[in-house]
């Protein structure tokens, strides 16, 4: 079953093609490592899948929904972790309220995911999110994403701020997700995700230059 179907996706910023006719299908169960030099267009492609951009050419479908026209349907199926933890001013408990009310993910599920990464959310409930340490923020974002049990997980360099132990926890958690799903990891360190992925995509200059299933 196809989760994502991208056909000739082209996106320009100020005249320059940042995505140049990208065609890419993602099947349910595929775990993708997406690599490529800085500025290759990885984040842009992921944001296009999330419906943040109007395309200059081509089309994207997420389980047959259009990300810009049917964003709610699309985003129900995707859990996303951004490249940098955003300085959200909501407190931890408000953020969890937001997640619970918008996605139906229970706060207790997020809390137990966080526990598994040794982040004690109960102690930081009233703290504004942006005042958590870099690694704590990352852990919370990961906990939220995993607790959503989405069919597609999109991680834009999720481990940048994590210490080695936390990284281990994270990969263990990912491996223990027992339901069927697909994932995209954007990463510059293939060694780390090597054991987790079954497909590698290499992007450069807005194009997919290598696509190999392992």
């Amino acid at each position: 079953m196809k989760i994502v179907e991208a056909r000739g996706v082209t996106k320009k910023f100020m005249g320059a093609k940042v995505l140049d006719s990208v065609t890419l299908d993602i099947e349910l169960g595929e775990k993708i490592a997406m690599m490529g030099p800085n500025g290759a267009g990885k984040t842009t492609l992921v944001r296009a899948i999330l419906g943040f951009y109007h395309l200059d050419g081509g089309s994207i479908r997420v389980e047959s929904y259009d990300p810009t026209k049917e964003r709610v349907e699309v985003l129900k199926k995707i859990a996303f972790i951004p490249q940098l933890p955003p300085p959200v001013k909501l407190s931890v408990s408000e953020l969890l309220t937001f997640v619970e009310r918008s996605t139906g993910t229970k706060k207790s599920d997020v809390i137990s995911q966080a526990d598994a990464m040794e982040l004690d959310l109960k102690r930081h409930k009233e703290k504004p999110f942006f005042k958590l340490s870099g690694g704590m923020k990352q852990k919370l974002l990961i906990a939220i994403a995993l607790a959503r049990r989405s069919r597609l997980l999109v991680f834009d360099e999720p481990t940048a701020n994590l210490d080695p132990k936390a990284r281990e926890h994270f990969y263990t958690l990912l491996n223990s997700l027992e339901y069927e799903h697909s994932s995209i990891f954007i990463t510059h360190r293939l060694e780390e995700v090597e054991g987790l992925v079954n497909r590698k995509i290499y992007m450069d200059l807005g194009k997919v230059v290598e696509d190999e299933k392992v």
């Binding site: 944001r47 999330l50 419906g51 943040f52 951009y53 109007h54 964003r71 709610v72 349907e73 699309v74 985003l75 129900k76 995707i78 996303f80 951004p82 490249q83 940098l84 955003p86 300085p87 959200v88 001013k89 909501l90 407190s91 408000e94 309220t97 937001f98 997640v99 009310r101 918008s102 996605t103 504004p128 974002l141």
Partner: protein, 275 residues
């Protein structure tokens, strides 16, 4: 639409923790305090006494600072959300763009409207305590005017924020809008009036299109003021259009304008890239 109230609620909670909100509440609260201390309620100046005078001075100061406060804080918070990728994260959850946009607008409205209204009512309470008469018409009119001025400037702020993505340009534009509406239009109109080259109707129309002028006139429409208090354009308008009409106009027109700007902002928000 269940997420609309969620977005609004969280925006209000966020504002209640933000520094700008305290400055904002402090300015309006402090203003009232200043009026009490300086004894504005006790003095008789230009024919206004006690509570009426207090409210009149309050509303005159509001005309100047409320718009710039609304514009700057709103534009700043929206564009910094975009630049710091908070918007990217929050909008990666399944909420529709309309829930997000209108929820934010609603939340903002509550946070900018209430401190001013509270300050107004505190002033009224103080005036009554000092033995004044309850100026019902004035309280009602001024609450309505504050409501409509919040509406129009929030509309403008949201439109600017969706149209201009650069933080600095958006702030600069806000400042320009404020100063033009506050001062330049009036100055220009007075100039034209004195030269007698443009017909009075044209001047009148242009003046009335400015929501701040409408507010200024509305605030004074309960009285028979002297020219010196409100400036020539407002005086002229009052004289030629009548008080009741101007009062209704001063409340309804800015609200309408605010709704139009907000809708335009929403159209831009939907049509363009979010980030």
């Amino acid at each position: 639409m269940k997420n609309l109230s969620l977005v609004a609620y969280l925006d209000i909670k966020e504002s209640l923790r933000a520094r700008w909100f305290y400055v904002y509440a402090f300015v309006f609260g402090g203003l009232m305090g200043l009026f009490f201390i300086s004894g504005i309620t006790d003095s008789v100046v230009m024919g206004f006494t006690g509570l009426s005078r207090l409210l009149l001075v309050f509303i005159q100061v509001t005309i100047i600072i409320l718009p710039i406060f609304i514009l700057i804080t709103t534009v700043k918070s929206i564009s910094s959300d975009r630049e710091s990728n908070v918007l990217e994260y929050m909008l990666s959850f399944p909420i529709s763009l309309s829930e997000y946009y209108w929820g934010k607008l609603l939340g903002r409205f509550v946070t900018v409207f209430f401190p001013v209204i509270v300050a107004l009512f505190v002033g009224v309470a103080w005036g009554l305590f000092k033995g004044g008469q309850m100026p019902w018409a004035m309280i009602f009119l001024y609450s309505a005017l504050i409501f409509s001025i919040c509406a129009v400037f929030l509309g403008i702020a949201f439109l600017i924020s969706t149209m201009v993505k650069s933080h600095d340009i958006a702030l600069g534009l806000s400042f320009t809008v404020w100063i033009v509406l506050l001062a330049f239009i009036d100055v220009a109109l007075i100039g034209l009036m004195m030269q007698n080259r443009v017909s009075d109707e044209v001047i009148l129309t242009v003046a009335m299109l400015n929501p701040l002028e409408a507010f200024r006139i509305g605030a004074i429409a309960l009285f028979d003021p002297e020219l010196t208090v409100i400036g020539p354009v407002a005086y002229y308008l009052l004289d030629s259009l009548g008080h009741t009409f101007l009062m209704i106009y001063a409340v309804v027109y800015p609200i309408l304008l605010g709704v139009i700007f907000a809708l335009l902002g929403y159209a831009v928000f939907k049509k363009r890239d979010i980030l």
